[in-house]
Amino acid sequence: MAINLRTAAVETREQRLGTIIGWDEGSAAALAEQSDFSRGCGTGCGPGTKGSRICELQSPFTQGGSCSEQVVQGQAGSILDAVLIQHSPIGCAANQAANNTNFRNTLARRGMQVRNITALSTNLTERDMVYGGVEKLQATIRDAYQRHHPRAVFIATSCATGIIGDDVETAAREVEEEIGIPVVPIFCEGFKSKHWSTGFDAIQHGILRQIVRKNPTRRQEDLVNIVILSGTDVYTPMLAELGLRANLVVNLATVEQLEEMSEAAASVSFCYTLASYFTAALQQEFGVPEVKAPQPYGFAGTDAWLRAIAKATNREEVTEAYIAREHARVKPIVAELREQLQGLRGYVAMGASFAHGVVVVLRELGIEVPGTLVFHHDPTYDSGSPERDTLGHLVDATGDVNLFTVGIRQHYQFYNLLQRVHPDFVVIRHGGLSPLAARLGLPSLQLGDASFPVGYQGIINLGAEILAVRGQRKFHEDLAAHTSLPYRRSWLEQSDPFALARTVAG
């Protein structure tokens, strides 16, 4: 299937990949099996037909989710010399504040000068709903340009502008011509996709269309695009060992870095949910090879990931030496950690491919992982490469996960899921579920820094972190003894998180 950069709006994930958000039929292997066009089918297979074969559970009861715009806000708002305009009522800009603490903390971790994000909302009101918000948008773009002299402006659309039908594309093009920098509309109305990860595709689509250098005059043979999320820069030192430079995108990138993505020697990521669209499109449109490998988690994954990069950039020898050094350094520490962690059971709940990676690391640490919740499932990724079958890799490398669930971060279901397995701790990345675990007396390991579990050092990081948060159980147990949950007894006794969904379906 080809990526289509001609339309302004990206196709949703469910359209492109057959993404589902509700599945609870058994083990990880079963789901991998149902996603069989990704397991061994190869790049020729398109999504749609087989993807729809995965039976998706839909519950009548749903709690507040997340949306594509939220993802776009986080991504576009973190580009260092760009400005984000949220073309929306003020509510869509509510979590500028939360994004800002992420932005500032990441700047600090990356050793950069800490400062606020640069993001505006057009603050649409009732009047704008009637008369349209295009003029306000154009005025806001001009204001933003005058205030900050950015190298690019990103516009995130909203449910409201989608419904009232503002012609954001034309509006952006007009001001772009006027001010002479890219003005990039990102179409990311929340109601258009059932899963927020479409937001990653949307921002990448916009960057590919309007920022990435179309006809690069040079190839930078030592430059590797790495699609990241906010966190420590573990990649620059790692790639330096291989004689490579890391072009970290999108988080905390400059517009220049985004432009030169088409000049890189390869593209890779630590999370294929995140990077699916970008790396496939860069290969398709600009011939920048997508590194085909499992994700860099645990020894086997990291070995393979590094070797694939090495192959793509002709750096096999130096890479093997680096791998050997790291094995020698890390293995004794991991051995020690395994002893300390013996007997612990963990539950993982997060975005799909990141979860696959984290389970691998936990198991390399000797931790039992009887269950996992992923917030969605992509039956394939955009390039369709079987080497990128992260779920398959998880099962093949570390064994099955018996209770594997797809569910879109529902507080009430998390209760039943935890009751099924009674873990010692949960591993989490998104907000909203840990508080429930807390009220049940369980500590959460927070992977707020996305780089934390990555690579060889990531194994150590995760092991040490588990030891640290395990202590917190005393806090949570104390709390659990003095708190109540807002659910009915009947639900608290329910062992099936999808009981309501199955009732409706049945």
Binding site: G64, C67, P89, N100, N116, A139, C159, P486, Y487, S490
Partner: protein, 458 residues
């Protein structure tokens, strides 16, 4: 497609609709009033909106603002229709009905409050008819139209309050309970210190001999307290404008009088004055004086101790302050800083976008910060402009003191000033029961301001 908007239920104050773009938001949208519902014990909001709407509002309020937490029934608990393409095209009333029905099966609450986002309000879902169906079955559920474009969470707050009063509490013809008061003051969750402040205000009102329907927060008795609203002797509005509309509505609905005091009192001077005014209105002057005397004894013992610091700290104290905060805290802090610390206002910015028709009264309240100090305020919600205005203010030869939000951290650093975070978003303080109101809060605020001062100095 351009949709004709339905007129909203009832005659509520118009949100200021002239707003330009906003950089670095200082409030959330009307849907944020889901946290108004969540602030009532054992009450759960049901959010009929797009998939990210509820998450954004409550995360901002409960996560990025003092790390307050979302409450028992807010944050990740609140049901949401997570409206999709289907609800946009075909309407969302069926989905809402399904969601409410399912919520009743799963959730155990005393009250559900349906709040709407942009999508149902734009496509014209008849939410009222859905909810009335449940109400007719005796389900404790009300609804409020809080589409994000309709206003911010301040106006949304009053819409939710009115919804509960009109749809849950209903008509009342019974007797009044002398000495009971309904309190309308800070906006829960938006104000970082609302829990502790409401607790302190309740303590003060009980101290002078009243019984208090505090209505929100850990000190509230929950929905029962709401049902008792019409029985109160009077309504007390303790804020420059928020709650005023509610009090007027209650006056009209129940013939219940109200007392409007614009100043949330901080420190002994202001608190004593406010309590005396309330006591006179309520007819409890005698018990008030005893209480005030005891509180003042304690307060001034600490203040005397503090005066040793205040009069002889060697390394420079601020003399002028700037504020960028909502009307209530801006007025409360200005009064305290001017009348009780002897500081002068260098810039006063009101960020909560009060209704146009109430702005003159707010302006007037700031004109009498003290008998000899008038404060000129500006209504600005855009942080870029706010920062420009503070940058150009004159702080004399002393380091600026800035009462603001986390958005002012860079500004304070640039101006070599002291930032005390008191406004949304306060992302660099963990706040639990701390209060800056009343006697106890006044002392805590002194601690916070001057700890900020001394700890920055090496």
């Amino acid at each position: 497609m351009v949709t004709a908007l339905k007129p909203r239920a009832g005659q509520l104050p118009e949100a200021n609709d002239q707003g330009g773009a906003i950089e670095q938001a200082r409030y959330v949208c009307a849907l944020g009033a889901m946290q108004t519902a969540a602030a009532i014990p054992r009450t759960i909001p049901i959010t009929h909106c797009g998939p990210g709407c509820a998450d954004k509002q409550h995360n901002a309020l409960s996560g990025a603002n003092g790390y307050q937490g979302g409450g028992w029934g807010g944050a990740g608990v609140a049901p949401s229709s997570n409206a999709s393409q289907r609800e946009v095209i075909f309407g969302g009333t069926e989905r809402l009905e399904e969601l409410i029905e399912a919520s009743l099966k799963i959730l155990d609450a005393d009250l559900f409050v349906v709040v709407t986002g942009c999508i149902p309000d734009l496509v014209g879902d008849d939410v009222g008819s859905v909810v009335r169906g449940f109400q007719n079955r005796g389900v404790p559920v009300v609804y409020a139209e809080t589409g994000g474009f309709r206003g911010n969470n301040f106006t949304g707050h009053e819409v939710v309050i009115r919804a509960i009063i009109d749809q849950l509490v209903g008509p009342y013809k019974g007797p009044r309970e002398q000495g009971r008061v309904n309190l309308w003051s800070l906006l829960p969750y938006q104000n970082t210190f609302w829990r502790g402040d409401l607790e302190e205000i309740k303590r003060l009102l009980e101290g002078i001999g009243l019984r208090v329907n505090v209505l929100f927060g850990p000190e509230s008795a929950g929905v029962g307290e709401w049902r008792a609203i019409p029985q109160a002797q009077f309504n007390l509005v303790l804020s420059p404008w928020l709650g005023l509309e509610t009090a007027r509505h209650l006056e009209g609905k129940y013939g219940q009088p109200f007392l409007h005091i614009p100043v949330l009192p901080i420190g002994a001077k202001e608190t004593g004055e406010v309590l005396r005014e309330i006591a006179a209105f309520a007819g409890v002057e005698g018990s008030a004086e005893t209480f005030i005397a005891a509180e003042e004894r304690r307060y001034y013992t600490y203040l005397e101790a503090f005066s040793e610091f205040y009069s002889q700290y060697r390394w420079g104290l601020p003399a002028r302050f700037a504020i960028a905060a909502d009307s209530t805290y801006a007025l409360a802090l200005s009064k305290f800083a001017v009348r009780q610390l002897g500081l002068l206002p260098a810039r006063l910015i009101i960020t909560d976008n009060p209704p146009e028709e109430l702005r003159e009264a707010i302006r007037a309240a700031f004109q009498v910060l003290d008998h000899d100090v008038a404060g000129e305020i500006e209504f600005i919600e855009d942080s870029y402009l706010i920062h420009e205005r503070i940058r150009t203010a004159s702080f004399g030869h002393k380091p600026p003191l800035i009462f603001g939000s986390s958005w002012e951290r860079d500004l304070a650093r640039d101006l070599k000033g002291f930032l005390v975070e008191v406004a949304f978003p306060t992302s660099y303080e963990v706040v639990l029961a701390r209060s800056y109101a009343g006697y106890r809060g006044g002392l805590a605020l002194l601690e916070r301001i001057y700890t900020t001062v001394v700890s920055r100095n090496a």
